[in-house]
C-alpha cells in the first residue's frame, strides 16, 4: 500500500531544530562505481572480462580468477531474499535515530550475495526480490531489496522515503515561472502533490504567455525574483528561505548564438549572468538555510534541482555561448553538491537536449517538450538520482560522451550553419 503523505504539522517553535545525521558515507575509490551508476538510476556491478564472474562488493581483482580486467555492467537485480533481520540497536547515529531498521541477505541470480535494505512491501524470506541501487542521504549508493512484482515506489516505505526527494506535501521554490519550462515544472509539481509552490517572476512588466494562468493553481504563490539581481535574491531568501524544502532552479537565458555569430560580449554576459551567476547568487542565499533545515522534522529541506543542458557536456557551436554558460553552471553545481551533501540535501541536475521552445526553434526534432522535461524532473525527485538526461538526444549525447568526449566534440563541430 502506498503511504499517504500528509501535510506536516506546523513546526513547534519551542523545540530545537535537529541537526542532520547521515548513513556511513566512506567508500573506497572502486566502490564509488556503484554510486556513479546509482546517480543515473542504474544498478551496476563489476564483471570480469576474462571469466565473466559478477563481483560484489566492488574490488580490484576478480574474486574467481584474480584478473584485474573488471568493468561495470548494468544488472537486472533479480534475486532471492534469503533471510532478513530487523535492527533494534545501532551505534551509527543515523540508524539509531531511525530504528527499527530492516535489512536482508540477498542471493542475486548473477551469483553474488549482497546485504540490502528491505522495502516494507517485501514479504518474509525466502522470496523473489529485485535489487535497486538508490542514493542514501549521504549521496552514496545503497542497495534496496524491492518486491519482484508491483513496482512500489521507494517513497512508499516510510524509512526509505528519505532516499527520495518526493515533492508530495513539500514547499518548493521554482525560480522562474515565466518560461515554458518553468510553467510546465510548476504544473507538474502541483500535480505531484506539492503543498506550496513559490513561482519566481522577473521583469513583471514583460508578459509571458500562460503565466497568469499559473496563478490559478491553488498551491501557487507568485514572488518577485530576478536571479541577475543580488538584492532580489537576498530579499526573497530573507522572506521564504527558512521554509523552502526544495529549490528548483529553472532560471535560464538562451540566446542561441555561436561565438562568431554575434559581435561583443553583452549577450553572452547576460546568459552567464542568469545561468551561472544566477545559480551562484541562489546558492549563496538559499543553501545555508537549506543545510540548517536538513533535519527539520517531516518538513525538512531535501533537494536542489538545476535545469542545465546537455550542451554543458560538450560545446554545441550553434549555441556556443549558451553551452559555455551551462558548462559553468554544471561545474558550480558540483561545488554546491559538495557543499550540501554533508547535510544530506541532494543536488539533482537535469541535462535535457534541445527543448521545444523559442530558442531551439531551428533545432531539428526530436525536441523535448517542456511538459516532458517537467515530468522527468518530478520523476527524478520521486526517485533517487543525481543526474538526469531526459529524452533521446540527451541519452545519445551522454552515451557518445562516455565513449569518447573528443569524438563528440568533433562531431558537434561539424554543424553547417
Amino acid at each position: 500500500m502506498a503511504q499517504v503523505v500528509k501535510r506536516p504539522k506546523r513546526k513547534n517553535p519551542v523545540e530545537r531544530t535537529r541537526l542532520p545525521t547521515l548513513p556511513p558515507a566512506t567508500r573506497s575509490r572502486v566502490a564509488l562505481g556503484l554510486t556513479a551508476a546509482a546517480a543515473r538510476g542504474r544498478f551496476e556491478l563489476q564483471v570480469c572480462r576474462d571469466c565473466g564472474a559478477v563481483q560484489y562488493p566492488p574490488r580490484e581483482v576478480c574474486r574467481i580468477c584474480l584478473s584485474q580486467r573488471l568493468f561495470w555492467r548494468r544488472q537486472d537485480g533479480m534475486g532471492e531474499l534469503i533471510s532478513d533481520t530487523t535492527l533494534h540497536a545501532a551505534q551509527e547515529l543515523f540508524f539509531r535515530e531511525r530504528l527499527p531498521w530492516r535489512i536482508g541477505d540477498v542471493r542475486l541470480d548473477s551469483g553474488v550475495n549482497v546485504i540490502a535494505y528491505v522495502h516494507h512491501n517485501v514479504g518474509a524470506p525466502p522470496c523473489r526480490i529485485r535489487i535497486e541501487a538508490a542514493l542514501d542521504r549521504s549521496g552514496q549508493a545503497a542497495l534496496v531489496a524491492m518486491p519482484e512484482r508491483g513496482r512500489p515506489a521507494l517513497s512508499d516505505d516510510p524509512k526509505l522515503r528519505e532516499m527520495t526527494c518526493n515533492p508530495r506535501a513539500r514547499k518548493i521554490l521554482v525560480t522562474d515561472g515565466k518560461s515554458a519550462v518553468g510553467q510546465a515544472v510548476a504544473r507538474a509539481l502541483a500535480a505531484a502533490g506539492a503543498d506550496l509552490i513559490w513561482i519566481g517572476m522577473a521583469e513583471p512588466w514583460k508578459k509571458s504567455a500562460g503565466f497568469d494562468a499559473l496563478r490559478e493553481l491553488p498551491q501557487a504563490k507568485v514572488v518577485p525574483l530576478d536571479v541577475t539581481d543580488s538584492r532580489s535574491v537576498r530579499e526573497l531568501a530573507g522572506e521564504i528561505g527558512g521554509k523552502v524544502d526544495i529549490l528548483v532552479n529553472t532560471s535560464d537565458c538562451h540566446r542561441a548564438f555561436s561565438l562568431a555569430a554575434r559581435r561583443g560580449v553583452e549577450t553572452a554576459q547576460l546568459e552567464m549572468d542568469v545561468n551561472y551567476f544566477g545559480l551562484l547568487r541562489l546558492a549563496q542565499e538559499f543553501a545555508p538555510t537549506l543545510k540548517a533545515r536538513a533535519a527539520d522534522g517531516d518538513a525538512n529541506a531535501i533537494a536542489w534541482v538545476n535545469v542545465l543542458s546537455v550542451f554543458a557536456l560538450s560545446n554545441y557551436p550553434p549555441h556556443g555561448t549558451y553551452s559555455a554558460s551551462k558548462a559553468a553552471a554544471w561545474s558550480l553545481s558540483q561545488n554546491l553538491r559538495a557543499d550540501l551533501r554533508p547535510a544530506g540535501v541532494r543536488v539533482i541536475n537535469l541535462f535535457p537536449g534541445p527543448v521545444d521552445d523559442e530558442w531551439d526553434q531551428l533545432e531539428m526534432p526530436p525536441k523535448l517538450s517542456p511538459a516532458a522535461l517537467a515530468a522527468a524532473l518530478v520523476q527524478s525527485l520521486q526517485g533517487s538520482v543525481e543526474d538526469v538526461y531526459p529524452g533521446d538526444v540527451a541519452q545519445d549525447w551522454l552515451a557518445r560522451n562516455l565513449e569518447s568526449p573528443k569524438t563528440l566534440e568533433r562531431e558537434l563541430g561539424e554543424f553547417d550553419r
Binding site: W205, D226, S230, R255, G264
Partner: protein
C-alpha cells in the same frame, strides 16, 4: 483629442488671469540668485535601483543592462572598515541623458557624445508643458505643435537653448508594470508627434526634450514616420534628451533652471545622472 483641446482651452483662460510666466534667470543673474538664497531646488531624478525598469526591445536585439549593484564589502572580512558596491548599468538606465551620438541621425555631428558636449549646456532654462490631464485620459497621448503654440500663448515663447519638458505625471506610476504599460502591441506611453518635434527643433531651436517616461518618444513611436521622431530629429540636430524624470509637477511652467550634467564617459551615448532644477522664489 477633441476633449483634450477643450480642456486646454479652458485652462488657457484660467491661465490668463492667474499664471505668471517669469523668465528664467540669465547666466549673469545666477550668481546673485544663489547668493540671495531666494530659490528652491527640485530633484528631478528617480532613484537608481535594480527594480527600475529599462526599455524593452525584442529579445534578439542587444539589451540595455538594468542597474545592478554588487556589494564589495560592508565593514566585514572583505573590507573591515568600509562599505562600498560595484555597480553596473546601461547608459540609458534610470533617469538618463541622451546625447546626439545615441541616434544614427546624430552620429556625424561634432561634440556629439557625453564626454565632448559643451559644458555650457549643463545649465539651461526649462519650459514645462503640462500634459498630465491628457496623459491620464489617454496613455498614447501625443503632444502636437498646435498644443505647444497654445502653451506659448498662455506663457511665453520658448526661448532658444531651453529644455522643453513634457509633464505627464507618468513618474507617479510607482508600479513598474503600469509605468511600462506594455501590451501585445507594445508600449503605450505619451510623447511628442513628429511634427511637434520638427517645430521644436527647427523653429524654436530648443536644447532638448525631456519626459517622465522611459523614452523621449511615445511608446508607439516605432510606427511613426520617421520611427522615433524625437530621437531622430532632436539628435540629428545636436539636441539632447532627458528621460525618466520626476517631480515635473513641482516646476513652474517657465523660470526654472535645469542642471543636467551627464557622466563624462568616453564616446558615451548617454548616462544616468542627477538632474535638478533651481527654481527662483516667486
Amino acid at each position: 483629442m477633441k476633449t483634450t483641446k477643450t480642456k486646454l482651452t479652458r485652462r488657457k483662460s484660467a491661465a490668463k488671469a492667474n499664471v505668471r510666466t517669469p523668465a528664467a534667470p540669465t547666466r549673469g543673474d545666477l550668481g546673485a540668485l544663489l547668493v540671495s538664497g531666494n530659490f528652491r531646488l527640485v530633484d528631478l531624478t528617480q532613484t537608481l535601483s535594480p527594480d527600475f525598469p529599462t526599455i524593452v526591445l525584442p529579445p534578439e536585439f542587444g539589451q540595455c543592462r538594468p542597474f545592478r549593484m554588487e556589494e564589495v564589502s560592508r565593514y566585514d572580512e572583505r573590507g573591515p572598515g568600509w562599505y562600498w558596491n560595484n555597480v553596473s548599468f546601461g547608459e540609458h538606465s534610470g533617469t538618463h541623458f541622451d546625447a546626439p551620438i545615441h541616434w544614427i541621425s546624430g552620429r556625424d555631428l561634432p561634440n556629439n557624445s557625453v564626454d565632448t558636449l559643451p559644458i555650457a549646456h549643463f545649465i539651461a532654462p526649462a519650459c514645462v508643458i503640462d500634459c498630465s490631464a491628457q496623459a491620464k485620459a489617454d496613455a498614447d497621448f501625443l503632444l502636437t505643435a498646435a498644443l505647444v503654440k497654445r502653451w506659448e500663448q498662455r506663457h511665453s515663447r520658448i526661448p532658444a537653448g531651453a529644455w522643453v519638458l513634457m509633464r505627464t505625471d507618468w513618474s507617479k506610476r510607482n508600479d513598474p508594470v503600469a509605468y511600462q504599460n506594455l501590451d501585445d502591441t507594445g508600449q503605450h506611453t505619451p510623447g511628442p508627434d513628429p511634427d511637434c518635434v520638427r517645430f521644436l527643433v527647427n523653429e524654436r531651436d530648443v536644447l532638448g526634450f525631456g519626459t517622465e517616461t522611459i523614452g523621449t518618444d511615445a511608446g508607439q513611436a516605432a510606427h511613426f514616420a520617421p520611427p522615433y521622431p524625437c530621437h531622430y530629429y532632436m539628435h540629428g540636430a545636436g539636441k539632447y534628451g532627458l528621460q525618466c524624470l520626476c517631480n515635473l509637477d513641482l516646476l513652474p511652467a517657465t523660470g526654472a533652471l535645469i542642471v543636467a550634467a551627464p557622466l563624462k564617459i568616453l564616446q558615451g551615448s548617454g548616462s544616468p545622472l542627477r538632474v535638478f532644477a533651481i527654481v527662483p522664489a516667486e
